[in-house]
C-alpha cells in the first residue's frame, strides 16, 4: 500500500516528499545534481549489457525479446491446473509459475489431518509423482520454463519435476525449472517454513549443487525480496536483505568447494513493484548495479554473464486495495509500467481480485492483457532504459544505491542475516514498520485512493473463484489408490536410502529422485527430514 509521505500546506501544495526508503525528493533536478553526485556514465551506468549493467543486462533489451509473462497459476487437482496452464499458454503466456496448496508447501499429504480444509485451496495439491504427470501432460517442458513456487520442500518437488520430465522423454539438461527455494524469506515474511535454518540452507545448497551438474538450465534459487517487501520492508531493505540472503546461499555452496562463477549465474530474484514509481525504478537500476559490483568485489566472480541480476519484477500485492477493486486494474497497469521502465526480464501481476482469493480466469486474463498492451502497443519495447540520463532518475538511483548499502551494513553489524532471521530481529523490525504504515494510512498521512481519499460508499461485490470441495475429495481418493497399488518394498527401500544419505550429509537430490520414482508421497519424504532436522523455532514478536 505504501506511498511516499507528502508534507503539504493548506492549499494542497506539496512542500516535501519523503520516500519510504527515507530519501527526500526535490521539486526540480538539474545538471548540477549530477555534478554533485559525481555522476559518470562509464562508472555509474555504462551501456546496457556492459558492466555494471545499471541500464540492463542485454544490449538490446526488449528490442530483441519482449518480457516473459508468468502469471502465478494453480489450484485444485492437477487436472484442473493442467487445464488452466493450457488456457494461459493458448492466450500467449510464455512461462509457467506453479502455485501449490498449503499442505504441499508445508510437506503434508492431502489425507493428513493437518491438511483438512486446505487441499487444493491456494494452489495445486501434490502428493506423488502421479500428480505432476497429470499437471504437465502435454506441456512442452523443453520450451516452457516452469517456475515452482515451493520452498521448504523444494528439493522434493524439484526431484519430482525431474522424474516427471524424464518420464515424458525429456533430457534433464534441456528443462528449465525455477524452484523458488528461498527459505530465509519464508522465515521473514511468508511463513511456509518447516526445518531449522541451518538444515534448510543445507537443502538449498544441495539443490544448487545438484542442478549445476544435472539440470544446468535450471535456476536453482529465486531469492525473494517480494515477500520481505510485503511484510513491511522499505524498497531499500527489500534489496538489501535479498542480497544478504543470496550471499548466505552462495556461502553455503562455496564452502562445499565450488567457485561462485560456476553457479551464481543460476540465481534469480523475485522483486515487488508497488510503491512510488520513481523509487521503484531507481531501486531496480541500483540493484542491478550493486549485484554486479558486489559479486565481483566479494566473490571475485569473473564471467560477465554471471553478474546479471535476473528475475521477476512484479506482483504488487500489498499495493492493491479491497475498496473499489477496479482501481486495482489501473494500479496493475502502473506497476507493469514500473517493471517495463526498469527493464524486467520476467513479470507478472496480481489480479485485481487477488485481495479476495485465487484469480478467476477473467481477472487473470486482464493482467496478462495489461502486460501485452504495454509491450505491443505503448512502445515500451522501443528503446532500452529510456529514463537514463534524467537528472532526477540518475540522482535517485545513486541515492538508492547508498541506502541499500546502508541497510546491508546494519544487518552485518548485527551479526549477519542468518543470525538476524533466527533471532527474529528483522521480523520484529518489519512488524513494527508494518504497524506504522497502517497507522499512517489511518491518520491520512500516507495517501491511498479509495481507502483514505476519494472514499466511496459500499465496496462492490466481486465475482469469486469458488473452492471446490469435490476436488479435495478426488485428490484424497486418488492418493489412497496410489498408496494401495504401489510397491511397498520399493517405497521402504527408497525412504531408508534417503534417510541414510541425509544423515551422512550427502546431497539428497539423487535419493529424492529415486523416492519420487517409487511413488513415495511428499509427506513420507518430508517426514524423513522432519525426524532428522527437527522444526524451526519461531522467534518472538516482541
Amino acid at each position: 500500500m505504501s506511498t511516499a509521505r507528502y508534507i503539504k500546506n493548506e492549499k494542497d501544495q506539496i512542500l516535501d516528499v519523503i520516500l519510504e526508503s527515507g530519501i527526500h525528493i526535490k521539486p526540480v533536478y538539474t545538471p548540477k545534481d549530477l555534478e554533485e553526485i559525481g555522476f559518470s556514465y562509464e562508472e555509474d551506468l555504462n551501456d546496457p549489457g556492459k558492466y555494471p549493467f545499471t541500464r540492463g543486462i542485454h544490449p538490446l533489451g526488449y528490442r530483441s525479446r519482449a518480457w516473459t509473462t508468468r502469471q502465478y497459476t494453480g489450484f485444485g487437482t492437477p487436472k484442473e491446473t493442467n487445464e488452466r496452464f493450457k488456457f494461459m499458454i493458448s492466450h500467449g503466456q510464455t512461462g509457467l509459475n506453479v502455485a501449490f496448496d498449503l499442505p504441499t508447501q508445508m510437506g503434508y499429504d492431502s489425507d493428513d489431518p493437518m491438511a483438512e480444509g486446505e487441499v487444493g485451496r491456494v494452489g495445486m495439491a501434490v502428493d506423488t509423482i502421479r500428480d505432476f504427470e497429470i499437471a504437465f501432460e502435454g506441456i512442452q517442458l523443453d520450451r516452457i520454463g516452469v517456475g515452482l513456487t515451493i520452498n521448504a520442500v523444494a528439493s522434493i518437488i524439484l526431484a519430482m519435476f525431474q522424474a516427471t520430465a524424464e518420464k515424458y522423454g525429456y533430457d534433464p539438461k534441456t528443462i528449465s525449472a525455477t524452484p523458488q527455494n528461498d527459505i530465509l524469506k519464508e522465515m521473514i515474511g511468508r511463513g511456509a517454513w518447516i526445518f531449522p535454518v541451518e538444515h534448510a540452507v543445507r537443502l538449498i545448497g544441495d539443490i544448487i549443487e545438484y542442478s549445476m551438474k544435472v539440470m544446468p538450465k535450471t535456476n536453482p534459487v529465486s531469492v525473494c525480496g517480494y515477500h520481505i517487501r510485503e511484510s513491511g520492508a522499505t524498497p531499500a531493505q527489500e534489496i538489501a536483505y535479498a542480497f544478504l540472503i543470496a550471499f548466505a546461499y552462495i556461502d553455503n555452496v562455496r564452502e562445499r568447494g565450488y567457485d561462485p562463477d560456476d553457479f551464481v549465474g543460476g540465481f534469480t530474484f523475485n522483486f515487488n513493484v508497488f510503491g512510488n514509481i520513481w523509487e521503484q525504478v531507481a531501486k531496480f537500476r541500483a540493484a542491478r548495479k550493486l549485484w554486479a559490483k558486489l559479486l565481483r568485489e566479494r566473490y571475485g566472480v569473473k564471467k560477465e554473464r554471471n553478474l546479471f541480476l535476473r528475475g521477476i519484477f512484479g506482483g504488487g500485492g500489498y499495493g492493491l486495495t479491497k475498496a473499489q477493486p477496479e482501481n486495482n486494474i489501473v494500479r496493475g497497469a502502473y506497476y507493469a509500467l514500473v517493471a517495463a521502465l526498469s527493464g524486467a526480464q520476467t513479470t507478472a501481476l496480481c489480479s485485481y481480485d487477488e485481495a479476495y482469493t485465487i484469480p478467476t480466469p477473467h481477472s487473470a486474463l486482464i493482467s496478462l492483457r495489461t502486460l501485452q498492451i504495454l509491450m505491443d502497443e505503448m512502445g515500451l519495447r522501443d528503446t532500452v532504459d529510456p529514463l537514463a540520463g534524467s537528472y532526477f532518475i540518475e540522482t535517485l538511483t545513486k541515492q538508492m544505491e547508498e541506502k541499500i548499502l546502508e541497510e546491508m551494513e546494519k544487518i552485518e553489524k548485527y551479526g549477519g542475516i542468518v543470525k538476524a532471521v533466527s533471532e527474529g530481529y528483522i521480523q520484529r523490525m518489519l512488524a513494527r514498520q508494518a504497524y506504522e504504515i497502517e497507522r499512517g494510512i489511518e491518520r491520512g498521512e500516507l495517501l491511498k485512493v479509495g481507502v483514505n481519499i476519494y472514499v466511496e460508499g459500499e465496496p462492490k461485490e466481486v465475482e469469486l473463484h469458488e473452492y471446490n470441495e469435490e476436488s479435495a475429495r478426488l485428490q484424497i481418493e486418488s492418493l489412497r489408490e496410489i498408496k494401495r497399488t504401489r510397491s511397498q518394498s520399493k517405497v521402504k527401500k527408497a525412504l531408508n536410502e534417503l534417510e541414510r544419505a541425509t544423515r551422512e550429509g550427502k546431497n539428497v537430490m539423487p535419493y529424492l529422485l529415486d523416492c519420487c520414482k517409487a511413488y513415495c508421497t511428499l509427506g513420507e519424504m518430508t517426514n524423513v527430514f522432519r525426524e532428522i532436522f527437527g522444526e524451526f523455532e519461531e522467534p518472538s514478536l516482541f
Partner: protein, 323 residues
C-alpha cells in the same frame, strides 16, 4: 459465575479443572477478594511442588532455558506449570506476552499449563498474584512450577520469596560489573547462568561475575554455569544443579517467608494509603497546609499514616458488628 463459593472453586481446581484454575488466576490478577479466599482453601494442600524462579535481563535467553528445563522434567513424566511474567508498558498499560511463543517444545508436553501474567508496574504486585498462581497450579497437580520474571527493578527480590531456587540468566553483552551490581541481579540468584557463551569475551565476563560473587557472599558461591541455550550446550550441568537443589530439604524457609509476608503486607498497606490519598477529603486540606508552609511534608506523611490507623480502627468496629 454468579456468587461462586470459594470452597467449590477450590474443589474444582483440585479435581483438575483448568478452566476454573485459569479464571481464579485472573481474579487474583484483578485483586478480587474471592480469589484470595480460594487460596485460603487450597494453601494447606500445597508445599510439595518444586518452584524454580528464572530471572535476568530481557534477551538473556530465559525462555529458551525454561523451554529446556520444562522439557527435561516433562520427559521424566512430571506435571509442569509455567508462569511467564511480561512487563506492562507504562505508557499504554497494554502488554505483549511473547514468552509463550518461545516455549515451543514445552508447549507439546502432556498436561503442561502455561500462563502469562502482566507485571503491572506495582511494586510487590508481582508477588501478590504470582504466589497465588503458584498455589493454584500446585493444586491443579503440577509438581514442577517455573516462574519467569522480568529482569529489572525490584521484582527480583520478590521472585526469590516465591521460589525454591532462583536461576539468574546473564549474557556477555549485558554490560559491566557496575551495571550488574546496580541491578541487584547477582544478589538473589542461587544459580548464575552465563548464556550465549558463543559471544565475544564470554569467558572474561564469567570471570567478572565469579569475582563479584566472591566479594559479596560469605559462603562459597556456586560457580557460574556456562551455556549456549540455543544449542543445548552446558544445559546438562544446569539440570544437575537444579536436581541437586530439589533433592535437598528446603532450608532458609523461615527467612524467605518473613520477607514474603513483609512484601505482601507492604503491598496491602500501600493500597490503603493510595485509597486514602485519593478519597479522603482531609488530604486536600493537609496538602494546602503544606503548600502554605504551615506544616512540613514529613509531618503530613505521619498524619496520613495516622488517618490510616484511625480508619483501621473504624474498619475493625464494622467487622465486629458484622459478626
Amino acid at each position: 459465575m454468579a456468587f461462586p463459593d470459594p470452597k467449590e472453586l477450590a474443589e474444582r481446581i483440585i479435581s483438575g479443572d483448568e478452566k476454573v484454575a485459569s479464571k481464579v488466576i485472573s481474579m487474583l490478577e484483578n485483586g478480587e477478594d474471592i480469589a484470595f479466599e480460594v487460596i485460603s482453601e487450597i494453601y494447606p494442600g500445597t508445599g510439595g511442588a518444586f518452584r524454580i524462579g528464572v530471572t535476568g535481563p530481557p534477551g538473556a535467553g530465559k525462555s529458551t532455558i525454561i523451554d529446556r528445563i520444562a522439557t527435561f522434567y516433562g520427559r521424566g513424566g512430571k506435571k509442569i506449570g509455567v508462569i511467564a511474567i511480561d512487563p506492562t508498558s507504562i505508557k499504554s498499560k497494554g502488554a505483549f506476552f511473547g514468552d509463550r511463543l518461545r516455549l515451543k517444545n514445552a508447549e507439546k508436553i502432556d498436561g503442561i499449563f502455561i500462563r502469562s501474567m502482566a507485571h503491572r508496574g506495582f511494586s510487590g504486585g508481582i508477588s501478590k498474584a504470582a504466589l497465588g498462581a503458584e498455589c493454584v497450579l500446585e493444586a491443579l497437580g503440577k509438581e514442577i512450577i517455573i516462574v519467569e520474571s522480568v529482569g529489572v527493578g525490584q521484582t527480583e527480590l520478590s521472585i526469590s520469596f516465591i521460589s525454591d531456587i532462583v536461576i539468574t540468566v546473564l549474557t556477555p553483552d549485558f554490560g559491566d560489573e557496575i551495571q550488574l551490581m546496580k541491578a541487584g541481579l547477582l544478589d538473589i540468584g542461587d544459580v548464575i547462568v552465563m548464556n550465549k557463551m558463543d559471544l565475544m569475551n564470554a569467558e572474561d565476563k564469567v570471570k567478572d561475575v565469579e569475582g563479584y560473587l566472591k566479594s559479596i557472599r560469605r559462603e562459597q558461591p556456586l560457580p557460574v554455569i556456562r551455556t549456549i541455550a540455543r544449542t543445548g550446550e552446558g544445559i546438562e550441568r544446569l539440570f544437575e544443579v537444579i536436581e541437586e537443589c530439589r533433592g535437598k530439604k528446603k532450608e532458609g524457609g523461615r527467612e524467605k517467608l518473613r520477607s514474603l509476608i513483609f512484601a505482601l503486607a507492604k503491598e496491602e498497606l500501600s493500597h490503603e494509603i493510595e485509597r486514602i490519598m485519593e478519597r479522603d477529603s482531609r488530604i486536600d486540606e493537609l496538602l494546602q497546609r503544606v503548600e502554605k508552609r504551615k506544616i512540613d511534608p514529613y509531618s503530613m506523611a505521619r498524619s496520613v499514616v495516622q488517618l490510616l490507623l484511625e480508619d483501621g480502627k473504624m474498619e475493625e468496629e464494622r467487622w465486629r458488628r458484622r459478626e
